[in-house]
Amino acid sequence: MTATEPDRGRAAQPPSADRPRARRRRTLTQKDARTGLALMSPTLIIVLTVVVLPLIWAVVISFQELTLIQIGTADPFSGFTLENYERVLRSGALWASLATTIGYTIGSVVLVVFLGTVAALVVRRPFRGRTLVRAAFLLPYVAPVVAVTFVWRIMLNPEFGIVNEFGQNVLGWDEPIPFLTQAVAHWKFLGLSIPVPTALLTVIAFEGWRYFPFAFLFIMARLEGMSREPEEAALVDGAGPWQTFRYIVWPQLVPIIGVLAVLRTIWTFNEFDDIFLLTGGAAGTQVASVLVYELLTVQRNVGAASAMSVVLAVLLIVMLGVYVLIMRRRGESL
């Protein structure tokens, strides 16, 4: 189709008429460029004013010593100090919450990807009611976070929650487990006492429950796009189910799982709602974003809160940078 215009032009006009056509062409491209920028501008304005500008401002604040009331009235370009960073980096709170965040992130990402893969594999072959089953699997992800955290809190409640009732009546637990308020439990096993971070594990389990549909969705899409032929050939050659999975299906899933793991890592690392609503950051679940919230609202220390979130963002960027480097080294594209 693109070729039609010049062809027609050449047929109708002698070659000497080349120049005006070239000019018209260029102005069309220029016009398109201008239209493009115009069409893009509402988005750019919103993102720049509501995301980029506040980001830059947050970085500036992190180098100033201000209280919540002073912000906005104080000169935004004066009084620079490293005190916030010094205080944040020296305090044990940052490192403790970072350790929690990292454990929480690794645990949830692994669980999400594992559950998502298993769920996608079991509904791969068509069966009656498959559409409904798939929709049901997606429910935890689409339901409002406030509602599902509330139900989980009630279900896990030590006094009247259904989980503890079930545990005590059916599984024979001696006493109810305070899933969301107990920092550490000691499991007796072969005469050893093993410390178990109850609340943290519960929050990770919630994360797995809530976000496995996300992984499920993408892995399912990938499975559906796969050609069946290699698997059928393997079946003819006598490969078992595990071999087929290990050598044919899995290698095709690795790229999408890599992308999922990166996305989930970024989002889990910054996760706030789930933990805040489940435990409020108590019982050994104070991840970094909850700590920032606390610095901001309880201690009202804006500078420290900003410094803390800048440290987090830098850490995330470094981790992603390392990941990209490793991928490049392996010769894989992202």
Partner: protein
């Protein structure tokens, strides 16, 4: 987990043996049968895990609180104690002794619907520009969008809080809509762009040649062709706006008449005065619109989000 790995190990061993005779031995067939059973067990477990919390929510919401406290291990309420009083309590305005969730529902609806309309109005031209028009900085824009997702939302909350307080947007639903737009438009552009790219450029060029302007092409040709993806995108924005919690908390916490349902439920679930079963009714009210929308459009939504993922 352990059974799965064990059977998998057995399967591998058997499979290795099976390679030589090029014929399926009974062992492999037995494994396939076992895997078939395991598959159904897994599906059942997943269904229980995903559905049970919602069922529990629904069943608790129609019981009086005394019944729950008296007999917590009973899941199904007995027929004579079934009540809709909880729903009356949660929906009625505060003046009538209720919790005012009807107002909250209205607020959530206003916020979510305006976010959808505005996000589409902003994202459609943007997506068209990114997929078709060679403007300066086209490539950098995508990088910019990606970068915004690296930072925790709470980091921009601090300056936004101050900015919006200054210009009087903080205690208003409009301020919330603006934040949701910033959060959803980049993803919306990505979703719509994926679809625009499947519209053949030649169709558009035909339109251009017939004298349509770029905007005319977008309105008359590209948009009608991408209606399903627009609906999927709209739904996505609706869900984000309806479910959002953090910014609603930061901007509106001291203005009860403007609370969204999410904020209302989270605030009231912290207090002891409101009975759990009434709050469960509130959870149902909060969750139901999303679930209904989702079941009506599940196919559209799942297709829209993962478009392009098939190729890995």
């Amino acid at each position: 987990m352990t059974t799965a790995t064990a059977s998998a190990a057995v399967a591998e061993a058997a499979g290795a043996r099976a390679l030589k005779p090029r014929r399926r031995p009974p062992a492999a067939r037995r494994q396939r049968a076992a895997l078939g059973i395991l598959r159904w067990v897994t599906i059942a477990l997943f269904l229980v895990a995903t559905l049970l919390p919602f069922l529990y929510m629904l069943l608790l919401s129609v019981r009086p609180i005394e019944s729950l406290l008296r007999n917590p291990s009973q899941i199904l309420p007995s027929l004579d104690e079934l009540t809709l009083e909880t729903y009356r309590d949660v929906l009625a305005p505060v003046a009538d002794g209720g919790q005012g969730f009807l107002t909250f529902l209205g607020n959530s609806a206003i916020v979510a619907i305006s976010s959808v309309v505005l996000a589409l109005l902003i994202a459609i031209p943007g997506a068209y520009a990114i997929s078709r028009l060679p403007f300066i900085g086209r490539r950098q824009v995508s990088a910019l969008f990606l970068a915004t997702y690296l930072f925790p939302a709470i980091i921009i909350a601090i300056p936004l809080f101050v900015m919006f307080t200054r210009i009087g947007l903080r205690g208003s639903l409009a301020g919330l809509v603006i934040v949701y737009l910033a959060q959803t438009v980049p993803v919306a552009i990505y979703m719509i762009r994926n679809y625009f790219q499947t519209v053949p450029e030649s169709v558009e060029e035909a339109g251009l040649m017939d004298g349509l302007s770029r905007l005319g092409v977008l309105r008359r040709i590209t948009l009608p062709l991408s209606l399903p993806s627009l609906m999927a995108t709209g739904l996505f924005v609706f869900m984000i706006a309806w479910n959002e919690f953090l910014f609603a908390l930061l901007f509106l916490v001291d203005k009860r008449p403007l609370w969204t349902v999410s904020l209302g439920l989270s605030q009231l679930s912290g207090s002891i005065e409101v009975p759990t079963t009434v709050l469960m009714a509130g959870s149902v009210v909060l969750t139901l619109p999303i679930i209904i929308l989702f079941f009506l459009t599940e196919r559209l939504l799942t297709g829209g989000l993962t478009a392009g993922a098939e190729k890995g």
